[in-house]
Subunit: 311 residues, 2 copies
C-alpha cells in the first residue's frame, strides 16, 4: 500500500452499515472511516458523527468519498446533494428507489465528472467472477434461481422493507438478479410474474418470476421470505456444455456436480476495492439492470394476497 488511506463517510448507520461497511473500512488498506451521518443513530466511538448530511458536507470538505447505506426511499435527494457538493458516491444496493432515479444519478455524476458506483455486493461473492468466465462462451439453455431465507432472522424489525418502494422479498432477490445479470452471457427479461403480498403489507413476501434470455432460454426465479432454517441462495445455469451451480449466494461454484471453487465471504472487501479502483481511474459503474428487472416484475406481476405478516 502506498500513500494515505482515503477518508470516507458513511451516510445511514443502519444494519448493513454496522454489519459490513464499518468492519471492512476498519481493515481497509485504501480507506478509513472519517465520519458518519444519521439523524437517528448515536455514531461510533472515535468517529465524528453528524445528524445531517449538509452539516457534514460543510464541516468536512476533506472527505471526498461518501458511502450511502440509507434505505432506497429518500436516497435520491441525499446522493444528489453529495454530487452537487462535488463528492464521489458509493450506493449500497438498491442504488435508488426507482429505475429513473438511478439513471438520473448516473447522468448527474457523469455531467460533473464524478465517480458513482452502484455496488451490488453479491457480485463480489467468491465464485461469481469465475462463474461469469465459465459461462462467457457457452450457450444458455435454461436457468433457475432459488433464493429463500427467513425474513424474521435476516431483517428483524426493518419496517421500510414492507412499505411501498421497500422491495419486500426483492430486497434479497435483487442480489440474485445482480448475480444473474453479471454472469449470463446474453440479456434476459421478465416475461411474467406472480407476487405474494401479505394482507397487511405493501410489498411481497414471496414471488415467482418467469424470465427468458433473448436467445429463448427459460429462467425461473423463486423468492421466498417464509423459509425457516438454513437459507438457500442458489443460481443454476444449464448450458450446452454442462450445468453450473453457484450456491451460498455465490460463495461456491460447481460444474456438473463437482465443486470448482469455494471461499469465505469477502463481498464488501471486493466492493471497496472496486470503489478504490473507480476513484483512481474515474468513471461511473451504475448498472441499473437488477432494479429494472424488479420493476418489470412488479409491472407484469399478478398479485396474490396471502396470510398477514407481523414481525
Amino acid at each position: 500500500m502506498t500513500g494515505e488511506r482515503r477518508p470516507v463517510a458513511i451516510v445511514g448507520l443502519g444494519k448493513i452499515a454496522l454489519d459490513q461497511h464499518v468492519p471492512v473500512l476498519s481493515d481497509s488498506a485504501d480507506f478509513r472511516l472519517a465520519a458518519t451521518v444519521d439523524p437517528n443513530a448515536a455514531g461510533i466511538a472515535g468517529v465524528e458523527h453528524f445528524a445531517a448530511l449538509d452539516e457534514m458536507l460543510d464541516a468536512r470538505p476533506d472527505i471526498r468519498a461518501l458511502s450511502f447505506c440509507t434505505p432506497p426511499q429518500g436516497r435520491f435527494d441525499l446522493a444528489r446533494r453529495a454530487l452537487e457538493a462535488g463528492r464521489q458516491v458509493l450506493l449500497e444496493k438498491s442504488p435508488g428507489a426507482s429505475v429513473a432515479e438511478v439513471r438520473a444519478l448516473a447522468d448527474l455524476a457523469r455531467d460533473r465528472g464524478l465517480v458513482i458506483f452502484a455496488t451490488w455486493h453479491s457480485r463480489f461473492a467468491h465464485a461469481v467472477a469465475e462463474a461469469r468466465h465459465w459461462l462467457k462462451d457457452r450457450k444458455i439453455t435454461g436457468a433457475e434461481i432459488i433464493w429463500k431465507e427467513d425474513v424474521r432472522y435476516w431483517h428483524p424489525g426493518q419496517k421500510w422493507i414492507w412499505r411501498a418502494g421497500g422491495l419486500g422479498v426483492f430486497d434479497p432477490g435483487i442480489n440474485a438478479l445482480s448475480v444473474l445479470t453479471e454472469i449470463l452471457p446474453e440479456p434476459a427479461f421478465v416475461a411474467a410474474s406472480e407476487l405474494h403480498f401479505p394482507e397487511s403489507c405493501e410489498t411481497p413476501i414471496a414471488a415467482r418470476v418467469q424470465m427468458r434470455s433473448v436467445g429463448g432460454a427459460a429462467i425461473g426465479v423463486e423468492l421466498d421470505w417464509r423459509h425457516a432454517g438454513t437459507p438457500v441462495w442458489d443460481v443454476r445455469v444449464e448450458t450446452d456444455a454442462g450445468t453450473l451451480v453457484l450456491s451460498d449466494g455465490g460463495a461456491r461454484l460447481a460444474i456438473d456436480g463437482a465443486v470448482r471453487s469455494e471461499g469465505p465471504d469477502a463481498e464488501y472487501a471486493g466492493v471497496y476495492a472496486r470503489f478504490a479502483e473507480l476513484l483512481a481511474t474515474g468513471g461511473q459503474d451504475m448498472d441499473d439492470r437488477p432494479l429494472m428487472h424488479v420493476a418489470d416484475a412488479f409491472l407484469l406481476g399478478r398479485r396474490v394476497v396471502t396470510a398477514p405478516f407481523s414481525d
Copy 2:
C-alpha cells in the same frame, strides 16, 4: 413525392391498426399497405393476408418494413423474428411488455444495423413540438397531468388491458408520460404512487402518481378510467415564466390562458413521416422512458382495491 411508395405490413389487425394505421397508410405518400398478419382477423379487401408472421416473412421478401400493432404481451418474439429476418420495425406503443424487452430489441436492431422505432403517437399531436420548444429554456416549478376517460367507450371488450402486463389505465396514461418526457427540459422520476385495482382485475383502473423533476419540481399525475363523458387529456406545466397547458391530448397549446396553437389530429401521419425519415437515414428511435416510469409506478405503488369492473 419521388419514387415508389414503400411496401409495409401490419402485424396485429386490431382496433388501433384499423382505426389509425390502415387509413393513414392508404393516404401516405411514403408507404403503401402491402400485407397484413393476424391469426384471428380476416384481413382487408385487396391486401394480402397471412395468419402467421413467419409465412409473411417467407412469402414477401419485398416487404422490408413492418408495423407491429399487437398487444405488448407477446410483442418481443414477433419483433425479434422480424429483426432476425432483416426487417425494419415500427412498434405501436407500448414498444414491449417490459423495460428490459425494449432495451433488448433496441440492442438487437443496433447490432444488425436495422431501424427500430418506438412510436409514442401522442408525441406527434399538433402542439407537442411547440410546447417542447417553449419549455426548452425555462425553469420548471411544477406540473400536473390529468388523463381521464371512459374505458368502456375507448377500450370496449379489450380483455388484454386487464390482464397482468396489459397496463390498465397506464395504457392511455403512458401517452401522457410520453408527452411529458418529450416536453420537459429536465429528467423526472416517480417518487410515489397509488394504484387502484378493481377486485376482479390484474391491472389498475385508476392511479395517482407523484413524480419529481431532478430539479425538485413536483409533478402530479392523475389517471382515471372511470370518467364518464368528454375525456380530459391535459398536461399543465408551471414555469418561472408562465404556465403552459397542453390539452386535448396535445392538440391545443395555451400559455397563461391564451391559446397559442390548435390543430386537427394528425398523430399517425406524423408517426409514419418519422418512420420514413428513420428508414431514409437509418438508426434507432427507442425511447424507453415512458414505460420505465410506468414500471417505476408499479414498483413503488401502494395498492388500493376498488369496486369490481366488468365490461
